[in-house]
Amino acid sequence: MLAYVLKRLGLGILVMLAVSTIVFTLTNVAADPARTIAGEGATAADVEAARIAYGFDRPIPVRYAEWLANVAQGDLGTSYRQRRPVADVVAERLPVTLALGLAAFALALALSLPLGLLAGLRENTWVDRLALVFALVGQAMPTFWFALLGMVIFVVKLGWLPASGSDTWRHFVLPSVVLAYYATPTLMRLTRAGVIEVMKSDYIRTARAKGLRPGKVVLKHAMRNAILPLVSVAAVQLGFMLGGSIVVETIFAMRGLGYLAWESITFSDLPVIQAVVLLIAGIYVLLTLGADILNAWLDPRLRMG
């Protein structure tokens, strides 16, 4: 098990290296950082001056190595726009995204697990159909449109919730719901499929033959097996949410990572963009590793196999 985890961590580091190379290439080869720093309307001489001042005249591999060494030490550079360490800028935005992401993820699970379970147990009944429609609508509903509709109803018409910002818990209600609904269809469908599959298995029949009550049969014997395929997908969803949903945070002007990313992109604040992409990739790598460990904990066959 330990060897497996170490192997996975090693792979994760390799992947992170690859991602960092891609990000660095995109932001330094595709774009001209000197021009960005010099600002719009700068003369050719200004740009050259910026290029030399920031060391952009040196060869790319040298700059990449230097950047990587800095990143490895936690130095993510200086934000062009805010003129302070990127690490500070990012850290400042983390709490809002974390709160939003966790709330949305919890809500998504709270919706999709019971609904998927019920739909799976009552396959082809009206409950199942309803759940299916709910999932289909969720899959086809563009997040930003759903957010706007929510705003029209709960902010404009009813006036129950604040329109934008991230100051009180009420600011988080609508964004969490929107984000949760985005993740729900996949999770629900997987749960449903898992439950249907597992309920057919022999060990469920054994459990019933022992006289166990239906609740125990389902919750103890079926559910744990049914959610096995869900774990890794849920981890990816959580990673997506913890990375900050650009769309949702931008629409609701929540001062989280996603909004920061959008601002940085519109202002060509390259160091911040690099940092956010790396951070999200890092979260993804850790979460998929966590999912594998959780899976091994849930399923002894993986633990010892």
Binding site: L11, L14, V15, M16, A18, V19, I22, L26, T27, A30, A31, L136, V137, Q139, A140, M141, P142, T143, F144, W145, L148, L149, M151, V152, V156, V236, F240, G243, I246, V247, T250, A261, W262, I265, T266, S268, I273, V276, V277, I280, A281, Y284, V285
Partner: protein, 301 residues
């Protein structure tokens, strides 16, 4: 001669059976009709609209759609602009119909690009296995690790956004699912008898890949294609909505929505209509995909 006839009629019967089953599959039919309607409207755009989608008119700004006349006796609602006009007085119906062209173009082109990349990688990994598989799997993992929207936004912004750039960037980003599914499907098919047979009569590898493997993994590929097409359309709309996708005055639905955002208080239909268009198209594509998956799955047969 008679042998041939028997074969023909058998073939026809089988085709009829497949057709009958497809027609009795509800989500397939709904999806097919939905996509068909959007596609027809997009192709016939000049015939079904009577205003230039770009023509502005100061006096005709923010006209309400026709049902405002029916229900609230709004005198401004006329059949001249059945879905009303936008903040620049452009006909909403025309903009939505032409916007459908953009969505479909992006959806199809990006899926083609990503399908080519993903299928090639997946087939190579699945067929050759070993080191090839290791490298390609690493590529897939790396790609999965990168947040699509963010990377797409950043890239599009760096390259100055245009329809072509958005399409290409999405195509270059959305190949992972193709690769994953093709890889495992190829692995399954690889050891089948007909592949071994083809190898033993000395067929070349590219020939085996194209004539033996590809046709046999076509069904899952079609399903993935519908998923990726919906995803590409959704991402384009999101990018454009955030101001970093297709640029004005092109009537991309995402962009139309973004421009309508400021009128959320006084003209809610302006955000409702493009959203519905997007929703209907995405729903239809998803239903179509579900239908194809059910119809081609072994239990469904």
């Amino acid at each position: 001669m008679t042998h041939l006839q028997v074969n023909l009629s058998e073939n026809r019967m089988r085709r009829q059976k497949v057709l009958r089953r497809a027609l009795s599959h509800r989500s397939f039919v709904i999806g097919f009709v939905g996509v068909g309607i959007v596609l027809l409207l997009a192709i016939l755009a000049p015939l079904v609209t009577w205003h230039d989608p770009y023509a502005q008119s100061i006096i005709d700004r923010r006209l309400p759609p026709i049902w405002y006349g029916w229900f609230w006796d709004d005198p401004l609602a006329t059949w001249n602009h059945p879905l009303g006009t936008d903040q620049l007085g452009r006909d909403y119906w025309s903009r939505l119909v032409y916007g459908g062209r953009i969505s479909l173009f992006i959806g199809l082109t990006a899926t083609l690009v990503s399908g080519l990349i993903g299928t090639t990688l997946g087939i190579l990994a699945g067929y050759f296995g070993g080191r090839t598989d290791m490298v390609i799997s690493f590529l897939i993992t790396t790609r999965l690790t990168m947040p699509v929207i963010l990377v797409a936004l950043a890239t599009v912004a760096l390259f100055n956004s245009s329809l072509m750039v958005v399409t290409l960037v999405l195509g270059l980003l959305l190949w992972d699912r193709f690769a994953v599914v093709t890889r495992s499907a190829t692995m399954q098919v690889r050891s089948m008898e007909y592949v071994t047979a083809a190898k033993s009569i000395g067929s070349s590898t590219p020939r085996i890949l194209l004539t033996e493997i590809l046709p046999n993994i076509a069904a899952p590929l079609i399903v993935i294609a519908t998923i990726e097409m919906a995803t590409a359309i959704l991402y384009e709309a999101a990018l454009s909505f955030l101001g970093l996708g297709v640029q004005p005055p092109l009537p991309s639905w995402g962009l139309v929505l973004a421009q309508a955002k400021d009128d959320i208080f006084f003209a809610p239909w302006m955000i409702t209509l493009p959203g519905i268009a997007l929703f209907v198209l995405l729903l239809s594509i998803n239903l179509l995909g579900d239908g194809v998956r059910d119809l081609t799955s072994p239990e469904g047969r």
